[in-house]
């Protein structure tokens, strides 16, 4: 298998379609370092958030209302010490060092 993989199960697979070079990029689902204080449903919400979903999308996937998701996320931010979803994702992805 010629895919470049990282430990978290993400992958980047090169394919050529009609003479055009393409990459199929799969984002990781697991392996984020989260505080122990997070509840199981909060972790699940973070997993979905890491896929770049909106609150509405997450609500649909979880069978909860968007308001519930927002509340759970607010609690996640508090526990992780961040102020926004992008900041949380940057922290999970490890891109936050240089910036904020």
């Amino acid at each position: 298998m010629a895919a470049a993989k990282d430990p978290k199960g993400a992958s980047v697979t090169p394919l050529t379609i009609g003479g055009v070079r393409t990459l199929v990029i799969d984002l990781p689902l697991e392996g984020f370092e989260l505080p122990d204080t997070l509840t199981e449903s909060e972790r699940e919400v973070v997993r979905l958030l890491a896929q770049g979903l909106s609150n509405e999308d997450i609500a649909e996937a979880r069978g909860r209302s968007a308001r519930t998701i927002a509340n759970q996320l607010a609690s996640v931010y508090r526990k992780c010490g961040v102020y926004s979803r992008t900041e949380l994702l940057a922290k999970l992805a490890g891109t936050d060092v240089a910036g904020a």
Binding site: G18, T22, V24, I25, V97
Partner: protein, 327 residues
């Protein structure tokens, strides 16, 4: 050969029920499945116009459905199909035509013209309903445009034609095989199934298709080692053309832009803002640190994301980490 994928889609077409919405949902599900099962090679990803499901299903649709009276989806989505297939005047490999509603044949003068210019076959045949009367519309593709045709401008979806033409060739091959060896019974509403005696043959075809290996580019894979995709995304050398959720995770499809194409390159300030957004910095903070107006930051970020092919900033952090690691 992409026969496996094509048969997947053809199967969905054969499952046509009385309810167009159900049928459409089936096709969409099949397309998604084909996308998943085949590592994303089924490349009709142009949700840009919101035309994806219709586009795909009809490309591989069986021409025997062309005379099926179509109440629902045809008239609604024909515009997006046409937009996707209609080329700008400088290329014009397609011809839209009003076909004979009974036989589905194109007008005779068009056929004569195609004979002169070497049109290979019709790309697709669409039934629609316009002003109360049934009308069959087709798209033709000249031989000269297969299999590697390219349009001139990014905005005209330069890559679409190569892929469509290639899949089309395969679709036509499969269709020929099906028509030669397989008989299906349909009632007046287009409902029906394969006759029992051909079911085995179809199964064999599908099985043969499953065994076809997918095209994985080893040379390309080797070059990935030396490729910092994230930097190249920012430079406009690569673009993300599609993202979708499947199996609970997010999958992106990126393509390489031709050398010398600067349309998708981020400007220095767009780049600065995108990198800061990837680091989780809020727009307000960027505005203060870069001494820009807040609305300028918003605009820079929006244009940066658009060039990258992303919808929202939350895609950035994970992509940056993952794609920087492919270096």
């Amino acid at each position: 050969m992409e026969r496996g994928r094509l048969l997947d889609v053809l199967d969905a077409t054969y499952a046509l029920g009385a309810d167009p919405e159900t049928w459409q949902a089936t096709v969409v599900a099949q397309v998604e499945k084909a996308f998943t099962d085949n590592d994303g090679v089924l490349s009709f990803r142009y949700r840009l116009d919101g035309g994806l499901p219709q586009l795909t299903s009809r490309v591989f649709g069986d021409p025997r459905f062309m005379a099926v009276p179509d109440e629902g989806h045809g008239s609604v989505d024909m515009k997006s199909i046409f937009r996707a297939y209609t080329m700008p005047s400088h290329a014009e490999p397609t011809t839209l035509f009003h076909a004979n509603p009974v036989t589905g044949e194109p007008p005779a003068d068009l056929v004569r013209m195609w004979a002169r210019y070497g049109v290979r076959d019709m790309l697709g045949i669409y039934a629609t309903r316009s002003g109360g009367e049934n009308m069959t519309v087709g798209v033709a593709l000249p031989r000269s445009t297969t299999p590697e045709v390219r349009a001139v401008d990014w905005r005209t979806r330069r890559y679409q034609w190569g892929a469509i033409a290639r899949h089309l060739e395969n679709a036509l091959t499969v269709r020929d095989q099906l028509e030669r060896g397989v008989v299906a019974d349909f009632d007046a509403l287009g409902r029906g199934d394969f006759a029992p005696h051909v079911a085995a043959e179809r199964t064999a075809l599908v099985e043969a298709a499953r065994q076809v290996e997918h095209h994985r580019d080893e040379a390309h894979a080797g070059s990935l080692e030396s490729l910092d995709v994230w930097s190249r995304l920012l430079q406009g050398r690569w673009s993300i053309v599609r993202h979708q959720r499947h199996g609970g995770r997010m999958r992106y499809l990126a393509i390489e832009n031709p050398a010398g194409d600067t349309l998708r390159a981020l400007t220095d300030s767009e780049r600065e803002v995108v990198v800061r957004a990837a680091a989780g910095q809020p727009n307000k903070v960027m505005a203060a640190e870069l001494d820009l107006h807040l609305s300028t930051v918003c605009n820079l970020l929006a244009s940066g994301l658009r060039k990258l092919g992303l919808e929202r900033r939350t895609h950035l952090p994970m992509l940056q980490t993952l794609l920087s690691q492919t270096r």
